[in-house]
């Protein structure tokens, strides 16, 4: 039996808090990098032990077509981050990220990769620090264009794979830009996170 199914209310709260601290640090750095006001939502924690449909309903972003990118993080903390962009991608941010205003298709993709990498790094580094472990990253890649998340996940994720999904919403207000991050942590490394959470709980 997975530990995820028995994630207690306390553990869930603690994990949410842990992520929140990590996100706070990330938001601060992102704001410094882009010199704008950046909002990262309080992460919501879902244990993916239910069917995929149920999870997507919970996430509330199954249907509309979007651009989805992914990036792996490796080590004791192992998993992938999926970033869901609107159909416009991240073109709004091209100025902020050191690309000109006039961007062609491959530059737009590169921009998406950059944003994916930065957001992934921000979230995962924060989390890794909190649980005091080292992580390394794979390079980001485009997973799907103009598809709904439901389709994407059905095509590319092993059904019945248990993992922990952390949902974070990232907004740059001055540029009307927004995207959703799904931090998926594998079942076995979720145990590492939960251990750290328990440690945190026992410290109180």
């Amino acid at each position: 039996m997975s530990q995820l199914t028995v994630l207690s209310e306390d553990q869930r709260d603690a994990l949410q808090e842990l992520m929140n601290v990590a996100m706070g640090q990330s938001a601060d750095r992102l704001a410094r990098l882009t010199s704008t006001f950046v909002t990262l939502s309080v992460p919501r924690v879902h244990a993916v032990t239910d069917t995929l449909d149920k999870v997507l309903d919970l996430l509330g972003l199954g249907k509309e077509a979007m651009l989805v990118t992914r990036q792996s993080f490796l080590g004791k903390l192992r998993g992938e981050v999926l970033v869901c962009f609107g159909e416009q991608g991240a073109s709004e941010l091209s100025g902020l990220m050191g690309y000109g205003d006039d961007v062609d298709a491959s530059t737009q993709d590169e921009l998406l990769m950059d944003v994916t990498n930065i957001l992934t790094g921000a979230c995962i580094n924060g989390l890794a620090q909190q649980i005091q472990t080292m992580v390394s990253y794979g390079s980001p890649s485009l997973m799907a264009r103009a598809k709904s998340l439901r389709e994407v996940l059905q095509e590319q994720i092993l059904q019945g794979y248990q993992s922990l999904v952390l949902e974070v919403r990232f907004e740059v207000e001055s540029h009307s830009f927004m995207c959703d991050l799904l931090v998926c942590i594998t079942d076995d490394s979720a145990a590492v996170v939960i251990e750290a959470v328990d440690q945190l709980l026992s410290d109180f």
């Binding site: 750095r29 990220m97 000109g100 590169e110 950059d114 990498n117 930065i118 790094g121 390079s139 890649s141």
Partner: protein, 435 residues
């Protein structure tokens, strides 16, 4: 085991089969290994101390600065992949003889170098040669595209084949019906012939019989025998000879009229189907229209009024039987559209050297959505079992074969107008080839 010393590690960095560059926040080069030197042609002594975007102008200044800034600020890795930025550095391809790639495809990773104290002053750029994979992937993508294109073409061909087959079936069906009709027409023609000729003789005989009868009566009257007179008159009255004389003539005339109609229908049926003639000859379109009307008269006579507005048109080089089929389809469709008490106008004429036959009705009209699908095989708005959806597509292909055009305009609720446009003469080569 001997510990590996720092000089050895430095050699590894120097000689490894990867580009290794150390950069500070301004993008100034602090280290430049052999891989970079060999591929760029710039020796480490020259490179170190220079700004990367000046040393290699192909690296965009703003881009590299932002990249470095993100690594320094977020203390996180950054990437550049060949898919998005194939040639970060302008290096020659790594397969100079066998490969197609002129330039080296590269993946780059930027990572912060954490010093002992935890401070980060330099970023390491590690560059890998992705030419082999990139070339393979690009070839695959190209192949995929090619396959997809071929697949699309095949789908298109299969669809066309299906359409052609359907049309062939329909025209074969029509030909079979035509053959049958022609056979039946022939069989009917013989008995009708002798009945007609017998009827002619019969009329002559009766005329003679009645003449004799009248003669008898005159003779009897001349005798002045009142007894005989009254007996003859009683006989005449009993047999109603006056009426017989009149009615027999009438009956024979009507029967001859009926036979004439049978003959005309038989001739039209034969003309209409004309199985024997899939040949091009000069066709009289009015004649074709009339025979067609005759053949389908039974189907439309009680419901629709046909108004002919025939103009003055020359004969047209065509396969008459096929054109008749087109007229039949158009007229029957029109009669379905108008329903009880409607009107169908048949107008002919010439315009700009083309001959036209127009079939117009005051029926329900055609929905604009359906207009451009009209000539598609199997497209029908009639209930299941009523229409095959092949009539108009067949008409279209027949007119096409005649190098003509079939146009349609329609207003819902007001009616439709189909116009067949035909050239007077077929282009010489085409007529021979198609015949």
């Amino acid at each position: 085991m001997a510990t590996v010393g720092m000089p050895t590690l430095a050699s590894v960095l120097q000689q490894i089969n990867l580009g290794v560059v150390l950069l500070d926040a301004e993008a100034r080069v602090h280290f430049w290994n052999d891989f970079m030197a060999v591929n760029s042609g710039t020796r480490a002594e020259t490179a170190v101390g220079q700004l990367l975007f000046e040393l290699c102008p192909e690296v965009p200044e703003l881009w590299i600065k932002k990249k470095l800034e993100s690594v320094f600020t977020l203390e996180n890795m950054a990437f550049s992949a060949w898919q998005q930025r194939p040639h970060l550095f302008d290096f020659a391809g790594s397969r100079p003889i066998t490969g197609q790639a002129q330039k080296m495809f590269q993946n780059a990773t930027f990572f912060p170098l954490r010093e002992e104290g935890g401070a980060i002053t330099l970023v390491c750029l590690a560059l890998t040669d992705a030419t082999d994979i990139a070339v393979q992937q690009l070839a695959l993508a190209e192949l995929n595209q090619l396959l997809q294109a071929e697949k699309d073409e095949q789908t298109r061909l299969i669809k066309r084949l299906e359409e052609t087959q359907a049309q062939l079936l329909q025209s074969e069906k029509m030909a079979a019906i035509g053959q049958l009709a022609a056979g039946v027409a022939h069989e009917i023609n013989n008995p009708v012939g002798f009945v007609n000729s017998n009827l002619g003789s019969l009329k002559g005989y009766f005329d003679e019989v009645f003449a004799v009868l009248t003669e008898y009566q005159t003779l009897i009257a001349a005798q002045g025998n009142p007894e005989l007179d009254s007996a003859v008159q009683a006989l005449n009255k009993k047999a109603d000879v006056d009426f017989l004389t009149q009615d027999i003539a009438e009956l024979i005339r009507e029967s001859q009229g009926g036979l004439d109609r049978v003959k005309r229908i038989v001739v039209d049926l034969r003309d209409f189907s004309h199985v024997d003639s899939s040949e091009w000859n000069m066709a009289d379109l009015h004649h074709g229209l009339d025979s067609t009307l005759n053949v389908i008269w039974n189907e439309i006579k009680y419901r629709v009024e046909i108004i002919k507005e025939y103009g003055d048109i020359p004969a047209v080089e065509a396969i008459g039987a096929q054109l008749n089929q087109v007229f039949m389809n158009l007229i029957i469709n029109a009669s379905h559209a108008v329903g009880e008490g409607g009107h169908i106008w048949l107008r002919t004429g010439t315009q700009d050297g083309e001959v036209f036959v127009e079939v117009r009705d005051d029926g329900c009209g055609i929905d604009p959505d359906n207009l451009n699908r009209l000539f598609e095989p199997f497209f029908t708005t009639k209930p299941v079992g009523k229409g095959t959806g092949l009539g108009l597509s067949l008409a279209y292909s027949i007119i096409n074969k005649h190098h003509g055009r079939l146009t349609v305009d329609s207003v819902v609720g007001e009616g439709s107008r189909f116009t067949v446009w035909l050239p007077q003469r077929q282009p010489a080569a085409a007529a021979e080839a198609d015949a």
